[in-house]
């Protein structure tokens, strides 16, 4: 039996000749995403802006307008009513009341729940969430802080382990990934909540994996082929790791697509974001991270003085055993 090869051996694709167009595409994606973020903004979930969210499964189809009128009549604020999953699964969201007291979010949610249970017998309330404005602010700060610090710490590690050019490359590539995924959330208006932050973190994790694999090969080749130009080195490195890139992307995208199509409705946006993040992450490893290396004209000299220490580190990971 012969193994299945998705990528033929010894490919020699000139990826870097595509880098100028890729840079334009990247720039356009980032600018478009930023524009979307500014104009449409993110559809923050109640985790981040406070308010109440009640998910109901009705026993029969409901008139959305009638439901809206009923919720309006409560006088607890303008409701946002959305379907999720089937037509009978409805999510009703209320904003933080104006003169908010700490307890009012929780009280308004209870009112909403009582009304629905009375007006629609047989309706099942799936979940009730109420977050006061004060807590939501803290949650947002903490989420953003975790995200930002994680990215900076990673860049510093890569700087130590490789060279500063690689750290900058990784950081910019990660920033592009984040901005494009955020732009996607702004464009689709999918709910952006704490779970989405977890998705973003997953994307960072995956995307880093990808960059480090290529950077590692670049470093290796820089030492091996001392007279080769950086563009050729990058092309060689990407080609050499191409079959790995394809295999890994495929094996990660598969479970994600399954999650998108068969997964819980609650994490639909989450799975979709991750799938997108993987595509963007692969793109940015190839063109953004590497593009920066070309900009800084990384050469074997960058590694000469570090070669000894870097090797010593590698030894610790994989001790040579006779």
């Amino acid at each position: 039996m012969r193994p299945l090869k998705l990528v033929p051996d010894n490919t020699n694709i000139d990826f870097m000749s595509f880098r100028k167009i890729a840079a334009v595409i990247s720039t356009v994606m980032v600018i478009a995403s930023l524009a979307l973020l500014v104009t449409r903004g993110l559809n923050f979930g109640i985790d981040f802006v406070g308010g109440q969210l009640v998910r109901v499964t009705f026993s029969q189809d409901v008139e959305i307008e009638q439901l809206r009128a009923r919720v309006d009549a409560l006088g607890v604020g303008e409701p946002t009513i959305q379907q999720f999953g089937s037509a009978r699964d409805i999510a009703i969201r209320l904003p933080v009341p104006e003169n908010e007291t700490p307890a009012s979010a929780s009280q308004a949610a209870q009112k909403l729940r009582d009304t629905i249970e009375q007006a629609y017998p047989g309706a099942r309330v799936g979940s009730v969430e109420a977050v006061s404005g004060k807590v939501s602010g803290e949650l947002f700060e903490k989420g953003a802080l975790a995200l930002g610090l994680a990215m900076i710490a990673i860049a510093i590690y890569i700087w130590f382990r490789f060279e500063w050019q690689f750290g900058v490359g990784a950081l910019l590539a990660l920033a592009q990934d984040m901005i494009v995924v955020l732009g996607f959330f702004a464009a689709t208006q999918l709910e952006f909540d704490l779970n989405t932050i977890a998705a973003l973190l997953t994307i960072i994790g995956y995307s880093l994996n990808d960059k480090i694999v290529i950077f590692d090969r670049v470093r290796e080749n820089l030492r091996k082929f001392r007279r080769m130009g950086i563009v050729e080195i990058l092309n060689l490195s990407i080609n050499e790791t191409l079959s790995r890139t394809v295999m890994t992307s495929l094996s990660i995208t598969m479970p994600l697509l399954v999650l998108v199509f068969f997964g819980p409705d609650v994490i639909f946006g989450f799975s979709l974001a991750m799938a997108l993040g993987i595509i963007v992450g692969t793109w940015s490893s190839m063109f953004v991270g590497n593009g920066i290396l070309i900009q800084f004209n990384v050469s074997p000299e960058n590694f000469d003085r570090k070669a000894v220490t870097a090797n010593a580190n590698a030894e610790r990971v994989a001790p040579r055993e006779r």
Partner: protein, 530 residues
């Protein structure tokens, strides 16, 4: 690198077996075998977060400014009592404005005597050796007592400890199973009750401070004045919801909730209406007997949290230390008040600032579709790996399954909680583990193409790939630790799985597969199809 000494081999296998065994109780918990497992096994189990299991989460915040005010009030009362002690010291103009107590001493020569009496009322606070109140004399006759920050912090801390205990008792009284009650930060309490679907009763119960007071009704109050919200000197106006009109009561408390020994929901023997029966402790019983004797024929008010529940007449002296509160209760509301009274007064008011309730159906839906997606996804990977790397794909697949079980096992060991974002952490970890094997196997392929022998290709493959695997995992570990330290809620749930997953996936994808490969290489295979 491919040479495993026996001790290392056994250690690796032992780790794998222990890790997998630890996951067993978790995997069986949903089946009929689960409950039959011995209790010690069921203790090491992964808990499902409320988003997966269903239940209620309530975040309470304490009004810590209450503590400040209460301390002032208590201190003022104590000072008044101390000065009245013989030989009496005349003081006046006492106030608790601006967060401090100040009063005048009528006789200037007694200032030192006052200071001597006040000093024992203060105590050391915190680790600094600072006292909890500062005493100073201004303009020779005015004494000012200021609470120190250290004293306040200590009092707040004590109040929070007590409040958490009262919350615990009240939640337990509701008979819910396995509630979690944790202090969070300086002034918050998290209550998590798995399976609880309607948190309304719980919220009402926790929202009650349950400060019970018996006070005499001020019958001399002028109704017109009362309607304007004014009370005679020495009295205060309180709402009386069941009668509609507010009522004036004397400021001094006859008896307070601290003297309660027990409270139960009962039925009025005459009308059959639900009431709350209370029993005083011996001190409270004596005091109640004395007051009812002195005030026979007069009405007194039963006050809970500054609202009058009822204001009956005292018909005769009440002995035996028992009393009952009636006042238009339903069985539920009487029961709730009884629970609140017997579990003690909350030292601070608590407000619900965050709440989330997820029905078990929604949680079960999430798990089910999560599991289906997980199984399909894993199968897809397994098939892909098998076809791409044949024998080495089999090793990678064994490592993948072991990895999943080991993550569960380690999580069970720490009694960690699996949440929806935790499942995302799983996906990432599985991805990283597969990637590690892909890297290794691709590298072996490459080395083989370059003409290395089977043994040396495998050896180089592992060695060269390990460097990238190490770097990738350390970076991810850094990110995960950052998330754990600085993140909140779901982000932390994600980070926990990630940190555990990084360790287990490096172990299974690198060490464990290498062990299997090394065993196979001992058979001296002449060809390696990869």
């Amino acid at each position: 690198m491919l040479d495993f000494p026996p001790w290392k081999k056994w250690l690796t296998w032992a780790t794998v077996i222990v890790g997998v065994l630890l996951a067993v109780p978790t995997l069986l918990s949903g089946t009929s075998i689960g409950p039959q497992l011995p209790a010690w096994m069921n203790k090491t189990k992964v808990n499902l977060g409320l988003d997966l299991a269903g239940g209620s989460y309530i975040l309470l915040e304490a009004q810590t400014s209450d503590v400040r005010n209460q301390r002032l009030e208590t201190m003022r009362d104590t000072i008044l009592g101390e000065m009245r002690r013989a030989p009496r010291i005349a003081i006046g103009d006492i106030s608790t404005r601006d967060g401090r107590i100040s009063f005048m001493v009528r006789d200037v020569t007694q200032i030192d005597a006052v200071r001597e009496r006040l000093l024992p009322l203060t105590a050391g606070a915190g680790l600094t050796g600072q006292r909890d109140w500062n005493i100073e004399v201004r303009d020779t006759t005015r004494v000012v007592m200021t609470p120190t920050e250290a004293g306040l912090a200590q009092a707040t801390e004590q109040a929070m400890v007590d409040a958490t205990e009262v919350v615990r008792r009240r939640v337990d009284e509701l008979g819910t199973r396995e509630p979690t009650i944790i202090r969070q930060g300086s002034n918050r309490i998290v209550v998590q009750v798995p399976g609880l679907q309607d948190p309304q009763a719980l919220k009402e119960l926790l929202g009650k401070t349950a400060r019970l007071e018996f006070k005499l009704v001020d019958t001399a109050a002028d109704p017109a004045q009362l309607a304007r919200g004014q009370a005679p000197i020495g009295s205060q106006v309180l709402p009386y919801p069941s009668s509609g009109a507010p009522i004036a009561v004397k400021r001094s408390t006859i008896i307070s909730g601290d003297q309660i020994a027990d409270a139960r929901q009962e039925y009025d023997p005459q009308t059959g209406a639900p009431i709350v029966g209370i029993r005083f402790n011996s001190e409270g019983g004596r005091r109640f007997a004395r007051v009812t004797q002195e005030n026979t024929g007069k009405p007194f008010a039963i006050i809970v949290d500054n609202s009058v529940i009822s204001a009956p007449n005292i018909n005769e002296q009440i002995l035996g230390g028992a009393a009952s509160i009636s006042g238009g209760f339903t069985v539920e509301s009487a029961n709730q008040l009884a629970i609140a009274l017997r579990s003690g007064k909350l030292p601070v008011d608590l407000t619900v600032i965050e709440e989330s309730t997820i029905s078990p159906e929604l949680g079960a839906d999430s798990i089910q579709s999560g599991v289906i997606a997980g199984v399909i996804g894993t199968l897809a990977i397994v098939v892909l790996m098998l076809f791409a790397y044949l024998r080495f794909g089999v090793y990678a697949n064994i490592a993948l399954v072991v990895n999943v079980l080991m993550i569960l096992g380690v999580m069970a060991l720490f009694n960690a909680t699996l949440t929806l974002p935790g499942i995302a952490g799983f996906v990432l970890t599985i991805g990283a583990a597969v990637d590690a094997n892909v890297l290794i196997n691709e590298r072996i392929r490459e080395e083989r193409r370059r003409g290395r022998s089977v043994n040396s290709a495998v050896e180089f493959g592992y060695k060269e790939a390990t460097r990238a695997i190490f770097d990738a995992n350390v970076t991810n570990a850094i990110a995960a630790v950052m998330m754990f330290v600085f993140g909140a809620g779901p982000v932390r749930g994600f980070a926990v799985v990630l940190i555990i997953g990084i360790v287990t996936s490096v172990f299974t994808a690198v060490t464990f597969t290498r062990l299997m490969v090394a065993d196979w290489l001992k058979k001296r295979p002449r060809e390696l199809v990869i």
